[in-house]
Symmetry: C2
Subunit: 131 residues, 2 copies
């Protein structure tokens, strides 16, 4: 991964992503970084987010709402998506890699991994409903 030069904008994006657990979309990152670099371009945000993913410093979370979310936590972990507010929340749970074995037992292809998203109502929406 040579031919990559330092850039202030990329570092700002990297730092912001590392500072939040909110799994922001490119647009959310763009809005945040604008407070530091008012004329940063959305293209720059996309390019750098994708570069961070390529470099293994971030992952994409494709939770099915039509936008990519980004996460600086590259460790294996699971996400919950609130059907009410759309928030993406980290789940504290053990790995469930045994499901790959289950899936592979009657399948002739090679299973390298799986992605699981959990859906429901998040704690804060649950509290609002009860009011």
């Amino acid at each position: 991964m040579a031919n990559v030069k330092f850039s202030r904008q990329r570092e700002a994006i990297r730092e912001y992503l590392a500072s939040t657990k909110s799994h922001p979309t490119a647009d959310m990152v763009y809005n945040q970084i604008q407070s530091i670099y008012p004329n940063i371009s959305l293209g720059t945000v996309y390019r750098n987010l994708n570069l961070l993913v390529e470099q293994g410093d971030a992952i994409k979370v494709s939770c099915g709402d039509g936008m990519e979310h980004f996460d600086s936590d590259t460790s294996e972990h699971y996400h919950f998506i609130c059907k009410n507010c759309g928030d993406v929340i980290d789940l504290d749970m053990e790995c469930i890699n045994h499901i790959n074995t289950i899936a592979g037992s009657a399948f002739d292809g090679k299973i390298d991994g799986s992605i699981t998203y959990f859906y429901g109502i998040c704690p804060s929406c649950l509290a609002e409903t009860k009011e």
Copy 2:
């Protein structure tokens, strides 16, 4: 679900979707139906596919390739996505709903369900690689 009139185009779409296990995208359905209705519009395909989903006669498969795939099999089952050719294949495996319990055990929100996609190399791509 009243106020829904019969349409030849919708029935053709429904029949095509029922006849295939290929999990086609709207565009793939459009291309197929054109052999029956040469001037069907892509908008008609999208509208009817979404209607079938609303009526519970099909499901959307959002496997993360930027396009919605459609499936007339509305029973609970799992999908495998080939990282090489992008094919979406049904997996013959038991339900793994216990993972929802695992996920919920340390989470304050309400977990209604989960979606799992398995990734790897499909049998046919595996065969090509070995040549």
